[in-house]
Symmetry: C2
Subunit: 381 residues, 2 copies
């Protein structure tokens, strides 16, 4: 954790932290927002980690709930049992609401970091995604925190620990969980059992958004730095072996030397790519290779005329870009921010990658209709 | 300089570096792009600093000219005389062009860092802006690097050093220079003298873009960090004395405690403001205060409904927002990037501030008509 501001750590860093702590004794708790009624700083599914030493990583509010959550976490860690706490922020002039600007009620699930976190950590780091199905209340007496993990194909994953959801409860939620595992979103469901109801929070965990930077010039560095800072998993692929030097790109998660024609091997459907080798031939070979992949985003550094030339050259070879290809190619890469400094160009690129990964178009929020967040309510099946 | 990547330093950091070195012996040179014919990485006016120990700060190309520029800088420092070097990048497959992706010819002015840099450093740090008028060629035998400094009102500023532009040359360029000093842009001009021509580069230096963050919650920190990283001068103004703690916002240039009604005192026509105290009353008082200023940007954190309520409350007090006010208010603040993590929200805010400061609207470059950069050619008068 080189992060100087523990409150502002990204979800990627949170999961890295969880991974580190999985092997040790239980000293930390994860707090997950599981319900919001009204306006709040973070949406359901947002997480933070709290240590039994009072340390906190990540912020699920603008700062005021972290104090009381520390006490809850300490108890959860020492008792090794999960709990749900409710914070009422509806009184904006007093109490929790003071300084928060929130006018909602927030439910937070607090759980010890134990072996049950192996699957979500692996999912976030690139293995199959999954859905965490967790009991957060109800009348059936099922302990809060009881858990099942469901894979995107609907199979129930075998997990460690004793607080498991009863099989019949899991079975009744399987289809919903399968969908959340695939889409990476969340929902709340109430399931009826013979002994009463159980409230479930279904939390889809999908791998981190990945960014592949094809290039080895110094302008790759500010993009790497910013992208990593906002929580993207960053690979730098250089076309020339001599430049595949990890020390040149200290913030990258991975630095590899590759031939431009092989760049596709580094790409899956979650990998956004920016082609910025500054070498026309290398860029053309990389683009050809990338067209064979499922990448949702191919950004091309350089003026539009350069892309026109690339396109003409590809067509001369019999490669015609489909509508889908044109949709995922961004040329020139970046949002229209107007700055010309390397770090400003990097900001423009990283902002576009974030927007595209969230299916947004990057214009000003004030010009957009509707709420800022798309998913204020529990997802339907 | 906490910057881990000297190549990616911002203009703000470059001018801070220049300020540090002004008092010492001449050990550094400034390289300024003064002409681009064709496509290149940076535009005229872009600067980097090179030390006589081989160190470089900032990048005016994607990395390939820095090597040869080092040698030029070493000579400029030891000779204490300026020079202009031309790099021909038109051959993309060989020589300088290799790996650059540029297809242009770039002229770079390299000057020793001496007392003549006092005025531009002061201008950048917030004093009156100015235009540097510098000889970069011609047949009249005027030494390259000969300089005059012109204020926005057209007066010629008295400067240190012996390499000054002749008075008649300065007089003939005064109106042009006055305009560049005001607008912060650049141009090239050829002036006829009795002895022949002199080629001039006119470089408008205006103060750094400033960002004032009104608020003291932890969510101010990631905004501060990102804004500073992309070269904005950042002030954090907290409404509550107890929170005006510099250690809480280590990346801010300045942390001040203020009453919300006095926030206007911290604002000038270059200061962009984000109101994010999360306290409704404080935000309302701050907004009222800001409406009296010349700030070009007032971003309001929080949902649109909150702004509607603010607006209603202001109108009940007899304050009606003008068209100009509505133009400069951004609610909700930020570009539409879709992320909900604190650092993602910060990215959205900082990207919008950069876009507005450059008179851009965000949105994807690929959807924009025309060239990426607005000023590829020398400015007309």
């Amino acid at each position: 954790m080189t992060e100087p501001d523990p409150w502002g750590v990204t979800t990627l860093e949170l999961f890295e932290l969880l991974e580190e702590r999985l092997d040790g004794p239980i000293e930390q708790a994860v707090a997950t927002v599981v319900a919001v009624d009204g306006s709040a700083y973070r949406r359901p599914g947002a997480k933070m980690v709290l240590g039994d030493d009072g340390s906190t990583y990540g912020g699920i509010t603008a700062g005021c709930l972290e104090g009381p959550l520390r006490d809850v976490a300490t108890e959860v860690i020492s008792e090794r049992s999960s709990t749900v706490v409710t914070f009422d922020l509806t009184d904006d002039d007093d109490g929790w609401g003071l300084g928060l600007g929130c006018e909602g009620i927030v439910d937070v699930l607090v759980e010890p970091v134990d072996d049950r976190w192996i699957e979500p950590v692996e999912a976030y780091h690139g293995a199959d995604s999954c859905a965490l199905v967790t009991a957060i209340g109800g009348t059936a007496g099922i302990p809060i925190g009881s858990r099942a993990v469901v894979a995107p194909d609907g199979t129930v994953v075998e997990i460690e620990g004793d607080q498991l959801l009863p099989e019949d409860v899991t079975a009744s939620i399987e289809e919903t969980a399968r969908k959340r595992a695939t889409e990476g979103n969340w929902c709340r469901r109430t399931v009826e059992t013979e002994d009463g109801t159980v409230e479930l929070f279904v939390d889809g965990i999908t791998p981190a958004t990945r960014l592949l930077l094809f290039g080895g010039q110094p302008d790759v560095r500010p993009v790497t730095r910013l992208a990593r800072m906002v929580g993207l998993h960053v690979t730098v692929a250089t076309a020339r072996g001599g430049q595949a030097d990890e020390s040149s790109f200290p913030r990258a998660d991975r630095v590899v030397a590759t031939h431009p024609t092989d760049v596709a091997e580094l790409v899956d459907e979650r990998t956004h790519v920016v082609v910025m080798s500054h070498n026309y031939l290398d860029d053309r070979l990389a683009l050809e290779s990338l067209l064979e992949t499922e990448t949702p985003f191919i950004g091309l550094m350089g003026p539009r005329e350069r892309f026109d030339r690339l396109r003409d050259d590809l067509e001369a070879e019999g490669v015609t870009l489909s509508r889908t290809d044109l949709d995922r190619i961004a040329s020139p890469v970046g949002l229209d921010l107007g700055g010309g400094e390397p770090i400003e160009i990097a900001l423009s690129i990283v902002s576009e990658v974030l927007a595209v990964s969230n299916e947004k178009s990057g214009g000003r929020l004030r010009n957009r209709r509707g709420p800022i967040h798309d998913r204020p309510v529990s997802q339907p099946d």
